[in-house]
């Protein structure tokens, strides 16, 4: 089968590889109908995530048809021929964490937990196509994929909703939604969102669905004006940090107290025009810093006292100079985590079905899987107004 394979930083290629096989007795094989490139895939592409090996298959946002089931799969939960979306964290359904709906913290799906334990203390769940830190699972930017615990992970999708409307239930829609939902948004709240990439776009729309009074979206108008435009389409007020001071604008908008909720949908490869952003650039280029938390620092600084800071943006390691003093002294509540996708799929599917949101708005480019390397390049460089790339594995 064809698969998108990581070779080296900035080098991915489509290769012919063997089809996946059932390895454990509760596995399933899914034939993929749509698969996407995620912003966090760019961290792999850029070489920011350690424990990658040449030849690893990428991709954790995919959906398709169940082709084969292992012998011990509970067939009352899933059948061959079912159309499913597959959440990106791999869960067992039986451990302490899964039982508490902390699906991305599953104890039992990382085959090599000792690697992540060194960095994090305890290992989170396995993830498809996201380095050997999360288990080294073959990913879903391919024609077929093996899905463990087939009676727990795949989520059935009715046939009347096309792929474009539901594929983002695998990652970015629940990610944006969880980031907003964790903040207990009130009807008089101002929610500020850093980053208008695909996750940021879903954060904005989720904040409105959850009743925010106002949503302010922040990004760089000089490099990605299309993203600010897409944010305005959702009803957000935008701040272009290339031209304006984010802190001053937010302060002015909120009568001097700052936004109630601040959401960092940027993560470890933030960019900016300030001294701390330059510091991060230099240090990461010299491999002396693992992440560039410029947006996070700004979010902490801008958040009102007693407000909530939500961090869906992915970080890997040990960034420098986090204003913990500001965070503590202002009494911020911090909410974060890899998305517990399984928890949110039913309610978000219902919202899609009711027409409250059509997630396909975020798609700007559709490519055949064979052109995926061009998709990565375009997404990385934000060329051609690229915001989200969906790949078709059948071409």
């Amino acid at each position: 089968m064809k698969a998108l394979v990581w070779c080296a930083p900035y080098k991915v290629s489509v290769e012919n590889v063997p089809d996946p096989k059932i390895i454990n007795r509760r596995d399933a094989i899914v034939r993929i109908t749509s698969t996407c490139i995620c912003g966090s895939d760019l961290h792999l592409y850029d070489g920011f995530i350690p424990a990658m090996k040449p030849g690893d298959i990428l991709g954790h946002e995919f959906m398709g048809i169940v082709e084969e089931l292992g012998p011990d799969v509970d067939k009352s939960k899933i059948k061959v021929g079912d159309r499913v979306i597959v959440p990106f964290p791999i869960a067992c359904g039986s451990c302490f964490f899964c039982r508490r709906q902390l699906w991305s913290c599953c104890d039992n799906t990382n085959p090599k937990p000792y690697l992540a334990e060194k960095a994090f203390g305890f290992s989170p769940a396995g993830i498809y196509g996201y380095s050997h830190l999360t288990g080294g699972y073959a990913g879903g930017q391919a024609e077929f994929v093996r899905v463990p615990f087939a009676d727990v992970n795949p989520q059935k999708i009715p046939d009347d909703l096309p792929d474009d409307k539901v594929v983002f239930l695998t990652d970015i829609f629940p990610t944006g939604y969880m980031a907003a939902e964790q903040c207990n948004i009130q009807s008089d709240d101002t929610v500020a969102v850093w980053g208008c990439g695909p996750v940021g776009q879903f954060v904005i729309r989720s904040a409105f669905l959850l009743g925010a009074h106002r949503v302010v979206a922040i990004d760089d108008g000089a490099t990605v004006p299309e993203r600010l435009r897409m944010a305005r389409d959702a009803g957000a007020t935008t701040i272009d940090f290339h031209d304006e001071s984010v802190y001053d604008r937010l302060r002015e908008m909120t009568g001097g107290i700052g936004p109630d909720v601040c959401i960092d949908a940027v993560g470890m490869e933030s960019h900016g025009y300030s001294p701390d952003a330059a510091y991060d650039r230099i240090k990461t280029a010299l491999f002396m810093e693992t992440d560039r938390p410029h947006a996070l620092r700004q979010a902490i600084n801008c958040c009102r006292k007693g407000g909530t800071l939500s961090i869906p943006g992915v970080y890997g390691g040990f960034p420098d100079k986090i204003p913990l003093g500001a965070l503590m002294n202002k009494g911020l509540t911090v909410k974060t985590g890899q998305t517990h996708v399984h928890k949110y799929v039913p309610q978000l599917l219902e919202r899609i079905r009711k027409g409250e949101i059509d997630p396909s708005f975020v798609i700007t480019h559709r490519l055949p899987l064979s052109e995926a390397p061009r998709g990565y390049d375009m997404f990385k460089k934000k060329k051609d107004g690229c915001i989200k790339v969906v790949l078709d594995p059948t071409k």
Binding site: C92, T109, P111, P113
Partner: protein, 282 residues
């Protein structure tokens, strides 16, 4: 004679298999009290003897200097001195503990340094009864311990174990074992009988965890190769990182019991590129 009753003796020379009935002091067995106090209540000694003496001396000097000096700097110096005295007196250093350093271990004797000692705890979402039942039938253990090839249970307390040892002529090591303590649903202790290729002892305890968390399982395993085989035998049995390998095997126990399987990526597809422009030939 129970595990705890075995006499303390020094190590015996290699080849003296008859005398191995008297074990090295360290391998006397898992003393029952070691399994009784939860890990978080034990303040282990992790500072070596000589280092402790230096700690007390240096701490005393600093404490006196700090008291004489007065003011905030004096207070800080005296506090540091006090900390060093405490560290020397008790043998426990919090800094070492947080760094995972143990200089005392190095002094526990050459015997200890040769072996593999693993103590691990896992929370398993099953009842003590289910877990005890699985473990009590030692024939189940090769399913979770990758270094075991087979275990044959002969009677209620005796069993024969075979472990893989690819680096050794014959490809395996074997021993007979007996259960020395068996409290149903609570604890099992066992050890290898004299004549074992690799001396070893193990113990497992099952405690009800609070709420609906299941069971807190504590396992201790010790493998001691015969004198004269420093490190090599252990590496051949367990690979380069024996401690880690056994810890992962014990994690397999949790995974098998909670989900019925051990996660794996063995045999999954991958690409052939080996970096920039090169390709791996299969």
């Amino acid at each position: 004679m129970t595990l705890a009753d075995r006499p303390q003796t020094q190590d015996v020379p290699a080849g003296d298999r008859e005398n191995r009935r008297e074990r090295p002091r360290f391998a006397r067995g898992i003393r029952s009290h070691e399994l009784q106090s939860p890990a978080h209540e034990r303040r282990a000694i992790n500072v070596a003897e000589a280092e402790r003496a230096v700690s007390v001396m240096a701490g005393s000097i600093l404490a006196v200097a700090g008291v004489k000096r007065r003011g905030l700097p004096g207070l800080l110096i005296a506090t540091l001195g006090g900390g060093l005295i405490y560290r020397g007196a008790t043998g426990h250093c919090d800094v070492y503990e947080s760094l995972g350093v143990d200089t005392a271990g190095a002094e526990a004797g050459a015997i200890a340094a040769r072996g593999v000692h693993v103590a691990e705890s896992y929370l398993i979402r099953k009842s003590p009864e289910e877990l005890y039942k699985f473990w009590r039938n030692f024939e189940n253990l090769p399913r979770i311990m990758t270094h075991l090839e087979a275990v044959r249970v002969n009677d209620d307390t005796h069993s024969h174990w075979v472990a893989k040892a690819p680096g050794i002529a014959g490809g395996k090591v074997e021993w007979d074992a007996e259960i020395t303590r068996d409290e149903p649903n609570t604890t099992i202790h066992w050890h290898a009988l004299p004549g074992a290729d690799v001396d070893n002892a193990g113990a497992i305890r099952f405690d009800h965890a609070p709420g609906d968390r299941g069971t807190l399982v504590h396992v201790m395993l010790d493998y001691i190769p015969p004198a004269g085989q420093i490190g090599r035998l252990v590496a051949k049995l367990f690979g380069e990182e024996p401690q880690q390998q056994i810890k992962e095997d014990l994690r397999n126990f949790k995974r098998i019991m909670e989900t019925g399987e051990i996660p794996s990526i063995a045999g999954q597809p991958r690409g052939a590129c080996t970096g920039l422009g090169k390709r791996r030939t299969e």
